[in-house]
């Protein structure tokens, strides 16, 4: 037994285990509920800020989905239904912290201040990553599942060893928690007491595979205990709860108490990407049941009830969302120009001779106006 034994193993385990049901501050109808297990309510200004971020995120998502349907951008992975997690992840962090997003986390990137057109770069098709990861402290969106989890862990430890109080937040899906990289990252994070938070957006599907076939764990948050990682589960459609639990997790990490795993229960309202046909694997009735738990509507109702949001404020948010969408439409309308040689220029710090030779060959193909120059 190497764990601190004050209070015995039972007490250690109790500190690490998630609460038996997801943390909630607000019910599906926007009414406050007392299911927050002692977590502190977030400040009112943060809730208003989150609301705006969620409305903008949803408008952006709808615009991107429309552009994908028109064939103007490639298949887009929508995060509709997950706005509380998206905004929550970004707002839980300070500017000096780091975010490790997946392909689905464009809402989080937007909220973190990344230019919407740069967020869309992969689906616009001209670059794999449209933004400078150092400028925004956002790693490139990760497509190979769970591979970003060890990255966030390593970066967090490096930051700690340098003496900063920076925190890394890693976003993951439910499916990704089956990958080895996720488990290895949890273990590393615990062993090195990394200031890292893993936020699992359990949207109940990995493409077509439902959670029931993905994991037999009582909750994905229970995956922390075996590694000695403190875990919590939260209603991922309750923005108040998400902000509260993430604030606690980030504080915990920042204070040097080690990593935390947070499972947010949410639902992927749309298809996996705009190229997917979810009717092949799930019932409309199931989707409909989640419509009544919409995170944006829920926060809106709560804020109005609390007198934190009025018609004028809502109108202002809507106007900003429309402006954002218009900017995206206009920006996507003309192709971002990237030189063909860009495919060669960044592979090495300086192109070795064999690659410089290929660059010259590409240029002469372009001169000749061959097919490479299409």
């Amino acid at each position: 037994m190497t764990t601190e034994t004050t209070g015995g193993l039972g007490a250690v385990v109790a500190k690490l285990l998630p609460s038996p049901s997801p943390i909630r501050f607000v019910d599906d109808g926007g009414e406050p509920v007392d299911e927050h297990g002692g977590y502190r309510p977030p400040p009112d200004e943060l809730l208003v800020q989150a609301y705006e971020a969620m409305v903008l995120g949803r408008r952006f998502d709808a615009q991107a989905t429309a552009l994908a349907r028109q064939g103007r951008i490639a298949a887009f992975p929508s995060s509709v239904g997950q706005e509380a997690c998206q905004a929550g992840a970004a707002l839980a962090l300070r500017p000096g912290d780091w975010l490790f997003p997946t392909y689905r986390d464009s809402g989080a990137l937007l909220s973190r201040g990344v230019d919407p057109l740069d967020v869309l770069a992969p689906v616009r098709g001209h670059r794999h990553c449209g933004y400078d990861p150092y400028a925004h402290r956002c790693a490139p969106m990760s497509t190979p599942l769970a591979t970003q989890a060890p990255h966030g862990t390593g970066l967090a430890v490096a930051a700690r060893w340098k003496g900063t109080d920076e925190v890394a937040l890693v976003l993951l899906g439910d499916g990704a928690t089956s990958e080895g990289d996720f488990h290895e990252a949890l273990n590393f994070a615990a062993v090195f007491r990394a200031p890292v938070v893993f936020l699992v957006q359990n949207n109940r599907y990995a493409i077509s595979v439902p959670l029931s076939q993905q994991s037999a764990a009582p909750s994905l948050a229970y995956k922390g205990i075996g590694y000695g990682v403190r875990a919590e589960q939260v209603d991922g459609n309750d923005a108040v709860a998400v902000l509260s639990v993430l604030a606690e997790a980030v504080d915990h990490a920042r204070a040097g108490l080690g990593p935390m795993l947070v499972e947010a229960h949410t639902y992927r309202m749309g298809p996996h990407t705009s190229a997917d046909d979810p009717t092949r694997y799930r019932d409309e009735a199931e989707v409909a049941s989640w419509r009544g738990r919409d995170p944006v509507e829920r926060l809106r109702a709560y804020l109005r009830r609390r007198g934190l949001l009025d018609d004028a404020a809502e109108a202002a948010v809507t106007a900003r969302a429309e402006a954002l969408a218009a900017g995206v439409r206009a920006g996507v309308a003309h192709d971002a120009h990237v030189a063909p040689t860009d495919i060669i220029d960044h592979v090495y710090a300086a192109a070795p001779a064999f690659l410089a030779e290929q660059r010259a060959a590409l240029l002469s193909e372009l001169d000749a106006g061959g097919e490479g120059a299409r």
């Binding site: 616009r124 190979p144 080895g180 077509s208 994991s215 495919i343």
Partner: protein
């Protein structure tokens, strides 16, 4: 680079070629999959897509042998992201076609265990780059078990992997990963270029005692040919001549076979009579067919989409050089993608081999018996 290309002339005329080009004996190749040559398919046969032929091959193999089962991500209810496993779960039940948790190392390792127990797993790894988490299982176990156990354990299984670019996909969905597998002793590596081969090679792969990495060219999934299924072509391990020609042999496989045929058509206009060999099977490598062809033509261009450095083309060029040295009138040239990670979709065409890039290679084949000046420059 293209400045010295001879003027375009009509096929059959001689221009810039040491030998006069012969009559075009080859069939014209349309876009999409290479023409299906197996048997004499009636023109009235229904047009089948490559994805459809693969689906039918799985179906027929499962019906023929109850040890055959299909597993992977989204292969069950969804029928696979490319619909190759469509309907199999409904037809054969949840123990014959099933979704696994999302973990490629786990999937392949699990399949190894099943194969050890006598089942015949056919694993779908969703995309080329998403097979990488399984690399350890593939290299250390799937490939080595036979040798490690003195032949007592043969993990007969098929790893189906959609591969290659040209479909406008976002990153990590377009890798040509064949060289990793081809380099790994103990694996067979095959890739179809025609609808007929999609069916025939997959049936062969499932029946094969050795583990087979079955690479499916994504960009040919929806290519169609009139083929009456079931159909069998040359056995696994044998290459096929897709076009006969006298001046130069293009050796290629999978997604670039149609491109080679297209280039051959264009080259005919320049007076180059091009032979196209479709390897079908990278491992085992059909030296006989390739060597016979190059000895006839005296010139060889190797074509693939994967980056060239340490690629399959390097192996082919070396084998041809070793076996055909005295028949070669020019160095064996490679036409490949550049040595870069697969580019973003809007730039992918700058990476991929094109007809122009292939014709540039033809032009450098020392038709006037003059060495390629590029190799003589005093550096």
């Amino acid at each position: 680079m293209t400045t010295s290309r001879p003027a375009l002339v009509s096929p059959g005329a001689s221009a810039g070629s040491a030998e006069p080009a012969r009559d075009a004996r080859a069939r014209a190749a349309g876009p999409g999959a290479a023409p299906d040559t197996a048997g004499s398919q009636p023109r009235s046969a229904p047009a089948v897509s490559m994805a459809g032929a693969l689906n039918r091959a799985l179906r027929d193999a499962m019906a023929a042998d109850e040890r055959v089962l299909v597993l992977g991500e989204d292969v069950g209810r969804l029928g696979g992201v490319f619909r190759v496993t469509d309907g199999l779960r409904a037809a054969f039940g949840e123990r014959r076609c099933f979704d696994t948790p999302l973990a490629e190392a786990g999937i392949v390792g699990f399949a190894v265990g099943m194969a050890m127990y006598g089942l015949r797993p056919v694993v779908e790894l969703q995309f080329d780059a998403f097979a990488y988490p399984a690399f350890e299982q593939v290299v250390s176990h799937v490939a080595k078990l036979g040798a490690r156990t003195g032949g007592r354990v043969r993990p007969s299984m098929v790893l189906r992997i959609p591969y290659g670019g040209g479909v406008g996909a976002v990153e990590h969905h377009s890798d040509s990963s064949e060289a990793y597998y081809a380099h790994t002793a103990g694996l067979k590596v095959v890739t179809p270029a025609t609808v007929t081969d999609a069916y025939s090679l997959l049936r062969d792969a499932i029946d094969d005692p050795d583990p087979v990495v079955f690479l499916e060219p994504k960009r040919l999934y929806w290519s169609r040919s009139p083929v009456d299924l079931p159909v069998r072509a040359e056995p696994l391990g044998q290459a096929a001549l897709r076009r006969a020609g006298r001046d130069v042999t293009v050796v290629t496989y999978g997604p670039t076979v149609p491109l080679a045929l297209e280039a051959a058509q264009v080259a005919a206009g320049y007076g180059w009579d091009v032979e196209v060999v479709d390897l079908r099977s990278i491992v085992p490598f059909d030296d006989d067919t390739v060597v016979a062809s190059v000895r006839r033509t005296g010139r060889c261009v190797v074509l693939h989409e994967a980056q060239g450095f340490a690629g399959v083309g390097a192996e082919i060029a070396a084998r041809v050089q070793e076996r055909c040295f005295h028949s070669l009138a020019a160095p064996v040239l490679r036409v490949t993608g550049w040595d870069v990670p697969y580019p973003a979709p809007k730039l992918e065409h700058h990476h991929q081999p094109s007809v122009a890039r292939i014709l540039d290679a033809f032009e450098r084949l020392q038709w006037d018996d003059e060495p390629d000046a590029r190799w003589l420059a005093d550096t």
